[in-house]
Structure formats: C-alpha cells, structure tokens
C-alpha cells in the first residue's frame, strides 16, 4: 500500500469516528427524548432540554476542534501537511 493510500485509510477512519460521535449528539440521544427529559441534568435543566439548548451545540464545537487536530496529526505523520509559506 502506498503512502497516500495509508493516509487516506487513516483519514477515512477518523471520518467514521467523527460521524459516529456526531450521530450520537444530533440524532441518537433524541430517540430517547421523552424518557431522558424526566431526569434532571446539568445546572438543574431537564436532560433533553439541556441538550437542545447547550449540550449538543457545545459538543459539536469541541468535536470539530478535536477532529481538526487529529487530522493535522495524520497529515504530518504521512508528510502531507502544508508548509507554512504555501
């Protein structure tokens, strides 16, 4: 397998992990919205209400920064990162 193929395989792996986490916070938890809302969550808000107001939104912000850092590491590992002067 060439260097580029290995790079792409790792990139694709990272994509699947990222999309799996994205799925949990955007879709997965809302399958159980009614049940989860019965329980008190962060700052005293009901759980589902808190996720729609802040929780999922914040999770997405963190997820994107985490993804960007991981992808940069993958690019560096295979020598595909950009030089600063480009």
């Amino acid at each position: 397998m060439s260097n580029q193929e290995k790079h792409w395989e790792k990139t694709r792996g990272l994509l699947f992990i990222t999309l799996a986490i994205w799925f949990v916070f955007s879709i997965g938890i809302f399958l159980f919205g009614a049940e989860m809302n019965e329980v008190t969550g962060p700052f005293g808000y009901p759980w589902t209400y808190w996720f729609t107001c802040q929780g999922s939104l914040g999770a997405f912000v963190i997820l994107i920064f985490w993804f960007a850092n991981r992808q940069e590491k993958i690019d560096e590992e295979f020598g595909f990162s950009e030089r600063e002067d480009e």
Binding site: Q4, H7, W8, T11, L14, L15, T18, L19, W22, F25, S26, I27, F30, L31, F32, G33, A34, N37, F43, G44, Y45, P46, T48, Y49, F51, T52, C53, Q54, S56, L57, G58, F60, V61, L63, I64, F65, F67, A68, Q71, E72, D75, G79, F80, S81, E82, R83, E86
Partner: protein
C-alpha cells in the same frame, strides 16, 4: 492608516471598531437621558452602523479576480470564523428563532441542533477538500471534478434556486427593520435595505463582504447578548442566564399546569390578526415525536453542508489546515448566539405570564393591560393582540397573542430596559440580515459571472470585463430579490428552511461523493443534481397542494426525499456508465492530501 499590512493589524482595527461601537451606545444612552426621542435613536443606530459597513466596503474595493472572488485567500482563521457566523446567522436566526422556540418549544428546537450540527459535516466531509481544490465558487468544483458544461450549469441552477429562495427572506427582513427604525413604508424600506447591502459588496466583492461581515458580527452579537444578560439580572433570574435559569424553566412548567392550554374556538381565532400566535405548547417538555425532531434536524444539517454561500467562505482561508480550524471557530461564534436564544425565550415568556412579576399580564384585567405603554406600541405595530374570549374581564393565557418577531424586538421594552437597547437590537437585526443577504447575492452573482459567463460563454474575457459582469449581475439579482421581497409572498422562517431543503436536494451528494467516491462520474452527478432538485420541488408542490406526504416528511423537510432520490440516481447512473478517466481519478487523489499545488491555479 490600515493599508499595507492590514491583515497583521486586524485585531487592533476591530478592537478599535468594537470600542467605538460601545462608545456610540454610551453616547446614545446619555442622549436618551437628555431627551432624545426613541425614533431619533432608532434612526441613529441603523444609519450609523450601515454607514460604517459602507465605508468598509468602499475601502475594500478591488480590481483583481483573486481578491474579488476569494478575498485573496488570506483571511485568518478566527476572523473567517466571525465572518462565517455573520454570513450564517440571518434575520431568521436573530429575529425569528427565539420567537419560534417561545411558541413551539421542543419541536422547534430541532433547528438549534440542525443549524449547528451541520458544521461537523462541513468540517469533516467538505470544506478542507474544496479549499485544496482552489475553486472560486461551488459550481467551479462540480464543473472541474465531473467535467463538462452541463454539470457546471446544473450546479448553478441548484445554487440559484436555493440561494434566491433564501435571499428574498433576508431582504424582507432588512426591509422590515428599516421600515420600523426609519419609519417609512415597507415597499420603500426594502430598497433602502437593498442599497445598503449592495454598498458592502459591489466594489470589493468577497473582500468587501468579508470585512463588513466581521464588523456586522460584532454588532449583532453585542445586540443579542447584552439584553439577555441585562434582563436576566434585572429580573433577578441569575447573573449568568445560561447556567442559572433552571428555576425559571421549571416555574414556566408550573404556570402552564396551573393555567392549562385552553383550546380556542375557530370563530374566536378568526378575530386574531394574521401572523400572531398564542402559547399552546409546553415550554420545556418533549412535545414532538422522535422522527419529527430528528428529520427536521437532519434536513437542516445536510442543508448546511450544501449551501454555497457558507461553503465559499472557506475558500478564503490561507490553507487547508486553516479551513478546518476556521469551521470550528465559525461554530463557536454561532454557538454564542444560539445557546442564548432559548434563554431569551424563557425570560421573555416568564416575564409576561408570571402573575408574581411586575411585568406579568396574565390574570390582570383587560383595562389594565390596554393601558400599558408597550402594549399599545406593539399592538399598533400589529405584533400583539388580546381579546376577551370568555368575557370574564381578566386576561387568560389563551387570550394573549404575539408575533414571533416580538420576542426579540419587544422583550427589552417589556422588561423596562431603556430605549437605547431597542435601538441596538434593531441595528443587530439589520446587521444579521444584511450580512447573510450579502453572502447570498454574491454567491449567485459569482456563480453566474464566473461559471456561466467566463467558463461557458466567453472563456477569453479579460479580468476587468469579468468583474464588470459580476457587478452588473450583483445589482440585477439584488433588485430581482427586492422586488419579490416587496410582494411579501412567504414568511421569513419558512422560506429560509425551504432554501436548506432545496440545497440539500440538489447538491449534498454530488459534493460529498465528488470527494469521497472516486467512481462518481459526470452522468451520475448531473442525474443527482437535476433529479434531486426536481424530486424535492415536486414533493413540496404536492404537499402544498393538499398531498398527504409519506414517512412523516413535511413541507419543511422535503429535502430528505429530494436528497434520497439524488443519492439513488447518482449511484445507479454512475455505475451504469463508464468510470471517470485517469486524469480525474488523479485529481481526486490530489484533493485528498493537503500538501502540494491546488487543482485550479491562482487565477483561473
């Protein structure tokens, strides 16, 4: 002053700007104490901010294609994040969203999740790869990746349908605010809004729009957050509302139990002015089925990743790495406003319905409510209405009606904040609608001038002529949008949601598969774009004309059907026809790594 190493000076330039704006607010507050009228304050706020944007637009004028189309590809990560946030948050986010949450509760909050979650798709599936590609517009990517004028043209068609649907709503919003703040009829105010929009983008193209959008973000975020914090503190609800409103949310639930949701007779509802709604849904309870919530969120997320005016913001970053980080910053700046909207809705609702609060009106007599100043003002503006359906003389929860916009626009006044805050909110709404309209009009005009005129009609055209065509188109599209906006066909929010559905129907899979599936070819992409758009449009018309729909897909989520058709068509047609040639496959390989030259040259 700011020429030359402008980019290095950005933090200082916008620091001074922010300080200046805060100074302006303070001056207005003092002027109010000294007797300046509410109307004059409103005019001053809108006129002053629009003048600043126009000045930035003028200073950013350019005659280079690279600067006009992609701001010279040197916008730093964080500033691009701010510009994207302003580009993204429209009149719908600023003026209408809190109102929607106020009236519809949980079912509507799917939009909060959808309009943020989509950025994960943008960051992981598309933005870095399209940045590496080096295109000027989204159809530029489609046209080069799949090859051929028909593919390019199909992408322009989808882009125009989606963006035009969106832009009429934004010009409508600028017109509404300009007509209230400047006190002129809506039909004229629409054109005042349009001229302000064109002043920002005409001379500087993407460069002008970028630097005005950063300025507009600063205005709109101050205008949104300041009232939320102020009201929360004034009501004693909490110093930091986002973490401290649990008691208030619970109290609203209690009051809902106590009052009950009384259903009004159809005959009674006829007397309520059009566009106003009563509180009929629980505030924090789960009141939608999982599929209703998830399908709306999913449609908005996939739409986010297909809207060209957002995607093209990431063409302006210096590198692929910066494009990825920039998506994170965009979402962070959007998060600041979106996480505040439910808090504003909570504070607004409680301040009106809690009889224990001095601002509460439920349980008061009609004579008392009708004597309140702010009620008279907003009733006159056709945004509030009360009617004694049961004839007992006291106002019940089901007898109070309000327009969605009033939650953002009227709450400061109801809570007893000085008028200067209302002026600030008007300026913020104007900034939100203008920045989005700018991005949209530019996306359409650039696609037509670059992809249709330069790439298809006259590939030998000189830069000066190309940019002239782009500017003429900008004006034509703007006026077409304003003319349709002046007819007031649909509400702001409905048409914004439709734009997302159109975009995802035609563009989501052709874009994503262009990077992630090498086997995707021209025939498949054309079938996917045109078939998806046609299927989505057909579904919308069918449901609007009395069709029953299926699988719980409504007129707000028709993109789910359109994009499914698009995916199937694209895969089937691609597999039935020949695979892309070696050069195209090599191109896809090159797009997938950040290093090396971009596919399209610096000036193409």
């Amino acid at each position: 002053m700011i020429k030359g190493n402008f980019i290095d000076n950005l933090p200082r330039v916008y620091g001074i700007y922010t300080g200046g704006f805060i100074g302006f607010i303070i001056v207005m507050a003092i002027a109010e104490q000294m007797g300046m009228t509410a109307k004059a304050i409103g005019i001053a706020f809108v006129a002053f901010t629009v003048f600043i944007y126009a000045l930035i637009g003028y200073l950013s004028r350019t005659a280079q294609a690279d600067a006009y189309y992609v701001a010279g590809r040197q916008v730093p990560t964080v500033f691009n994040g701010m510009a994207t946030a302003a580009d993204w948050m429209s009149g719908a986010s600023f003026v209408a969203m809190a109102g929607g949450i106020y009236f519809k509760g949980y079912g509507y909050m799917a939009l909060l999740v959808g309009w943020t979650g989509g950025y994960v798709l943008v960051a992981s599936l598309l933005a870095p790869y399209l940045r590496k590609f080096g295109c000027y517009t989204v159809p530029d990517f489609i046209g080069t990746r799949y090859g051929g004028n028909l593919a390019r043209f199909s992408a322009v068609v989808v882009l125009t349908v989606a963006s035009f649907t969106y832009v009429t709503a934004q010009i409508n919003a600028t017109g509404t605010i300009a007509s209230v703040a400047l006190d002129i009829p809506f039909q004229y105010a629409v054109y005042v809004g349009l001229i302000s929009i064109l002043l920002c983008s005409m001379l500087g193209g993407m460069r002008g729009v970028t630097w005005t959008q950063v300025a507009q973000y600063i205005v709109l975020i101050i205008a949104y957050l300041l009232p939320v914090f102020w009201i929360s503190n004034k009501m004693g609800a909490g110093f930091f509302p986002h973490f401290m409103l649990a008691d208030e949310v619970a109290r609203i639930g209690e009051l809902e139990q106590q009052f009950g949701f009384v259903k009004n007779a159809a005959a009674d509802l006829k007397s309520v002015p059009k566009g106003l709604a009563g509180i009929t849904k629980a505030h924090s309870a789960v009141n939608a089925t999982p599929w209703a919530f998830i399908s709306l969120a999913l449609a908005m997320m996939m739409g986010t990743a297909s809207l060209p005016h957002v995607m093209m913001r990431y063409f302006t970053t210096p590198s692929v790495k910066a494009a990825r980080k920039s998506v994170g910053w965009s979402l962070f700046f959007i998060f600041l406003l979106y996480s505040s909207a439910p808090m504003l809705a909570t504070l607004s609702k409680l301040s009106l319905i809690d009889p224990n609060l001095p601002t509460g009106i439920i349980g008061k007599t009609f004579a008392e409510v009708e004597a309140i100043d702010w009620y008279q003002n907003w009733n006159q503006a056709n945004l509030m209405f009360i009617s004694d359906f049961n004839g007992n003389g006291t106002l019940e929860l089901n007898e109070f009606f309000m327009g969605g916009k009033a939650v953002v626009l009227a709450t400061p006044e109801i809570a007893g904040l000085p008028y200067v805050i209302s002026g600030l909110v008007a300026a913020g709404g104007m900034a939100a609608a203008m920045s989005t309209a700018d991005g949209l009009i530019l996306a359409i005009a650039n696609a037509i001038s670059h992809d249709v005129y330069y790439k298809i009609i006259d590939p030998k055209a000189e830069t000066a002529k190309r940019l002239l065509v782009a500017r003429v188109l900008l004006v034509i599209i703007g006026f077409a949008g304003a003319t349709i906006a002046a007819m007031e066909i649909q509400g702001i929010l409905g048409s914004v949601i439709w734009a997302f559905d159109f975009a995802m129907s035609g563009l989501f899979f052709p874009l994503v598969l262009g990077v992630w599936w090498k086997r995707a070819n021209r025939q498949g992409a054309i079938a996917g774009m045109l078939g998806g758009l046609a299927a989505g449009a057909w579904y919308l018309v069918w449901v609007r004309t009395g069709g029953s729909g299926f699988l719980g897909i409504t007129q707000l989520t028709f993109g789910i059907f359109g994009s499914a058709v698009s995916l199937v068509l694209m895969v089937v047609v691609s597999l039935m026809t020949a695979e892309p040639d070696k050069a195209t496959q090599k191109m896809v390989d090159d797009v997938r790594v950040p290093s090396g030259k971009s596919i399209l040259g610096k000036s193409h």
